[in-house]
Each structure stands twice: as structure tokens, then as C-alpha cells.
């Protein structure tokens, strides 16, 4: 198991620090078990996990929606219990479900959200926000008249209405069409560039792979890994070399057994799995031994595990 605690000292500018956080719901369900997590200022942090893993509970505690159990959480150096007013002022949340005031107009609901978070009215900022989210034309429309995608944009506008510096996006692209998803991620990148720290959960792991600087995987209430995305993929992702042979083989020669090669069904492709982290990958030796065995190949390619494959493996190990 790899947790963030070992890397804690290396994080020089933390914005969220979670220490030994536990949460047990009424009825005894233990949703979080000793969570240690540090989120850096200005990064995009992807929190991945299967349904019921504890992602939403963790986010809800940090945002003040769910009471914490034991442990501590600080946001920008402020404790979420003792200095709740400060921490909540700087946090924005886009919840997983579409929860909106159906009979309100877009404009009124966004102004309401800004006021709720203690900010004076700023119509110019809200106008720009709605324009950025392609909602300006819908500002006088009642929310119940909007499509699901538009409602999702309203949720984001509400979360950004008070100009938070830490933004939680809990499954922001669930049920969202491709175009909106693309717009949304473009906006997330712009927010990051403006200095906003973003913590997102998503079931679309290719999105996390594309967007995140760091990745945390949570399963059954435990944070099983927190790592730089690229490092995680290098460390845990298998890399494979595939060789397409000139002629099908009847079997693999005994001399190549040490490489753990796999021969495909047609017996015309060899797959070699190697570790990119080790000092020697064994590729040079393999190619030499193949030549010595008289096995020629016409093409070769390499492929690496996706974040999704790594995620599935991690969750399977923890099961």
C-alpha cells in the first residue's frame, strides 16, 4: 500500500491536509478509515474509486456537509471545525447529483449562491461566468426548463459564483454529452491556470489520465495509493513489447523460456512484458536471443497500461 504520508514532506505548498480521518455513519458503516492526504495548491487532483468507496464522504466532510469522525482536516491552513467560516469561504463544490431550485431562474440562483457564501453582489463577474459557461442566453430561464447538460453548467456556475480557490468536482461529467464534457475540461484547465486547486472524482478514468497532475485511489474507505499520475503509470503500469513474426511458430524455443514470452492464438505474435523501472529491460538480450534462435520479425510495437487498467488492478488487489 502506498499512501501520501510518506511523501508528505515533499509537498511544499499544501492547500488541503487530511490526517488520520475516520468516518463511521449511524448504523456502523465505516466509510473512511484513517485517511491521510495532502493536496497541493494549484494542482488537479483526481480521486478515483469504485462506487461506495468513500469519495463523496471525504469531499462532503471537507466541504462541511457531513460531520467528520476522528482526525483533522485543514484547508489553506485553517481547521474545518474550528475555522469553518474561513475554509468554507474558499471552497466551491459541484455535487454529483443535479440539485437545483427548479423554479428559480439561472441568474437568481447564481446570485443566491454568491450571497450565501458571503460575497457582495458582483453582476459583472457573474455575467462573465455565465458567458464562460454558455449560460448567458439562458439567464432568465427557469432551471426546470433547462436540459440536463445545462443544469450541470448551472451547478458549476453556482459553485464558482463566490470565486473559490479550491474547487471540488464530484463526478462533474456524469451523464454529460461529449461537447459539454470537452467544454468543461477546458474550463477546468483555465481555472487551474488561474490558480484554483481542483479535486475531482470521475468514473471516466481516461479523463483523469488526461487532466490530473496527481491521482489518489480510494477503496473501501482506505486510500490505497496517492501518486503523481505519470509516476503511477510508470511504476504500476505494465509495458509490453509485441513482435509480429515472419512465420508462425510451432512453439517457443526452450532457450527463450526465461523471458516469460506469450505467443498469440495464431502463433505469429510474441508479447514480452517488462518493467520500465528496472535497470535492464531485457529487450536487447531478447532481440539477440531471438536472432540466435532464427526467429525473424517483420514489425514491433510497444504499449503501456492505461490508468484505467492500473485502477482496476489496484481495486482488485484491495478486494
Amino acid at each position: 500500500m502506498q499512501t501520501d504520508s510518506t511523501a508528505r514532506d515533499a509537498i511544499t505548498d499544501p492547500v488541503i491536509e487530511v490526517r488520520d480521518l475516520d468516518k463511521t455513519y449511524e448504523g456502523g458503516f465505516k466509510a473512511l478509515k484513517g485517511i491521510d492526504l495532502t493536496v497541493r495548491r494549484g494542482e488537479i487532483f483526481a480521486l478515483l474509486g469504485p462506487n461506495g468507496a468513500g469519495k463523496t464522504t471525504l469531499i462532503s466532510i471537507i466541504c462541511g456537509i457531513v460531520n467528520p469522525g476522528t482526525g483533522t482536516v485543514t484547508v489553506d491552513g485553517h481547521d474545518i471545525i474550528r475555522e469553518w467560516r474561513k475554509t468554507r469561504t474558499i471552497i466551491g463544490l459541484v455535487p454529483q447529483e443535479l440539485k437545483t431550485d427548479a423554479f428559480e431562474t439561472v441568474w437568481n440562483t447564481v446570485r443566491f449562491s454568491r450571497g450565501l457564501f458571503g460575497k457582495a453582489p458582483d453582476d459583472a463577474y457573474l455575467e462573465q461566468l455565465l458567458k464562460d459557461l454558455s449560460l448567458w442566453d439562458k439567464r432568465d430561464a427557469k432551471i426546470l426548463m433547462l436540459s440536463g447538460g445545462m443544469k450541470r453548467r448551472v451547478m458549476i456556475a453556482k459553485a464558482l459564483s463566490h470565486q473559490p480557490t479550491v474547487l471540488f468536482l464530484d463526478e462533474p461529467t456524469a451523464g454529460v454529452d461529449v461537447e459539454l464534457r470537452r467544454d468543461m475540461w477546458a474550463m477546468v484547465r483555465r481555472l487551474r491556470e488561474s490558480g484554483v486547486t481542483i479535486i475531482l472524482t470521475t468514473h471516466y478514468i481516461e479523463e483523469a489520465e488526461d487532466m490530473a497532475d496527481r491521482v489518489g485511489v480510494i477503496n473501501k474507505g482506505e486510500l490505497i495509493v496517492v501518486e503523481e499520475k505519470t509516476a503511477l503509470m510508470q511504476k504500476l503500469g505494465k509495458k509490453q513489447l509485441r513482435l509480429q513474426l515472419h512465420e508462425p511458430l510451432s512453439g517457443l524455443p526452450q532457450a527463450l523460456s526465461a523471458y516469460g514470452l506469450e505467443l498469440n492464438g495464431k502463433r505469429d505474435e510474441i508479447t514480452y512484458t517488462y518493467d520500465t523501472q528496472s535497470e535492464r529491460t531485457g529487450i536487447t538480450a531478447l532481440l539477440r536471443d531471438l536472432a540466435a534462435a532464427g526467429i525473424g520479425f517483420k514489425d514491433l510495437s510497444t504499449r503501456q497500461d492505461t490508468l484505467e487498467q492500473i485502477f482496476v488492478e489496484l481495486v482488485k488487489e484491495g478486494a
Binding site: 466541504c63 460531520n67 457564501f117 453556482k158
Partner: protein
């Protein structure tokens, strides 16, 4: 103090009244006017006066109080129940708002709406009956104390309720009977001695009695006791709300 937050909740709730004007304002005014017509004109022609006050004028404080209690409870309970029902309550929880600020916003709006309805009913009554207010300051005091106390009570009901039926049960099954049996349409001195004693267990008696005293100087119970009873009820509701926020009962997991 998050004044912008309080104002946001207050304005949001008041705007809802604007959207539901028929239900929020016209409906209670029309139904109370019907009471004036039926009780004031029909029955009033047979009961000419109660302790020197015309019957039509006598029932005005009770009818206003009936409306105040119903409106306070309904507005406040719906105000907090609806965001729970649709899930938008998450935003209030995650906002930098103290319990006091949340209550001020919701209860302030509910009490304001109830007072507005009460004042409209008083103005409407003037169309049917000639009445006077002997102690306007005390009348305002009762108006405010009662609406705030019952708005707090409604707030508790809204948090307790987990369906729309429960939201209606308390106003319809408890508040309305207590108000009808609390001297809205009669002086409790008109009851047999045994029922006079039983009626004193009805807290609404003290509210109506005190409110009526502010109009005509007539009271079923001492006005000081009425004020004290209202304050006790207010304190009980404040304690209940404080406990709810303290524990997160039915609000936070």
C-alpha cells in the same frame, strides 16, 4: 457575521412568496374574510356583544392569530423542508453560515410573510367591522413574538418531516384545533367552569387572550401571563432549533 448570506436566504424565501402570491397571501386573506362574513355577520347578529365589544370585532384578534400561527408554521416548515426535499440544502451546509444566520434568514422570512398576511387581514377586517387597537405597541409585540416563535416551531417541523404529509399534519391536526378551541370565537368565560379549567392547558389561549387585550383591553387570562407563556414557547423552540443544529439531527449525516 455573514450578512450577505442572511440576505440571500431571506430574499430567496420572500421571492418564493412573490411567485406563489395566490397561495401565500390571497388564499389566507380570502378564507379569513369568509370567517368574518359567516361568524361576524351570521352569528354576530345573534350574539350582539361580548363583554361590551361587538361580536364581529371580538373575533378579529382570534382570526388574525389563527392566520398568523398557520402562516408562520407553514412558511417556515416549507422553507426548510423544500431544500431538503430537492437536495439543495447541501449549499446551505457548505456555505460559511452559522446556525444563527441560517435561522435568521429562514425564520425571518417566514415571520415577515406571516406578519404581512396578518396586517392584510387586519386591513380587510376593517371593510367588514369597525374596530380599534387600544395598545398598538403591545399588539406589535405579540405579533412579532408569536410569528417568530411559531416560525421557529415550523422550522423544527420542516426538519423533522420526511414527507409532505408530515409537513401538513401539525398545522392541520394540532394548530388549527388548538386555535379554534383557544378562544378565537368566544371568551373562555362563556364556557362551563370545568372546560374553562381544561382550556387553560391550551397554550394558544394565552396568545389569543394577550393579543385581544392589545385591541380592546379584554383578556381571558392576565396579559403578563400571556407574555410569559409566549416567551416560554419562544425559548422552547429556540432550544429545539439549537439542539437540532448542534447534533445535525435530520440535517447532517
Amino acid at each position: 457575521m455573514n450578512l450577505h448570506g442572511i440576505r440571500a436566504i431571506y430574499k430567496f424565501e420572500m421571492a418564493r412568496t412573490g411567485r406563489t402570491l395566490m397561495q401565500s397571501v390571497l388564499s389566507p386573506v380570502v378564507s379569513t374574510s369568509l370567517y368574518f362574513v359567516v361568524f361576524g355577520s351570521a352569528i354576530g347578529s345573534r350574539i350582539t356583544s361580548v363583554e361590551g365589544v361587538s361580536y364581529a370585532a371580538f373575533i378579529i384578534p382570534g382570526l388574525v392569530m389563527l392566520s398568523l400561527l398557520m402562516q408562520s408554521v407553514s412558511n417556515a416548515s416549507f422553507g426548510i423542508y423544500f431544500p431538503k426535499f430537492v437536495g439543495t440544502i447541501y449549499e446551505v451546509h457548505s456555505a460559511p453560515l452559522s446556525y444563527l444566520e441560517i435561522i435568521t434568514g429562514y425564520v425571518g422570512a417566514a415571520a415577515t410573510k406571516a406578519i404581512v398576511v396578518g396586517l392584510i387581514i387586519l386591513a380587510t377586517a376593517r371593510v367588514f367591522v369597525d374596530y380599534s387597537i387600544a395598545h398598538p405597541a403591545v399588539m406589535i409585540l405579540f405579533l412579532v413574538m408569536t410569528t417568530v416563535a411559531f416560525s421557529l416551531f415550523g422550522f423544527i417541523i420542516g426538519i423533522w418531516a420526511d414527507n409532505f404529509e408530515k409537513l401538513q399534519v401539525v398545522p392541520l391536526m394540532i394548530i388549527t384545533p388548538l386555535t379554534f378551541l383557544g378562544g378565537s370565537f368566544y371568551s373562555i368565560h362563556m364556557l362551563p367552569p370545568f372546560w374553562q379549567k381544561v382550556t387553560l392547558f391550551n397554550p394558544v389561549v394565552y396568545l389569543i387572550s394577550g393579543f385581544r387585550w392589545s385591541f380592546y383591553g379584554l383578556a381571558d387570562v392576565n396579559v403578563g401571563i400571556s407574555v410569559a407563556a409566549t416567551l416560554v414557547f419562544l425559548a422552547l423552540c429556540l432550544t429545539g432549533v439549537w439542539w437540532i443544529f448542534r447534533t445535525g439531527w435530520r440535517l447532517k449525516a
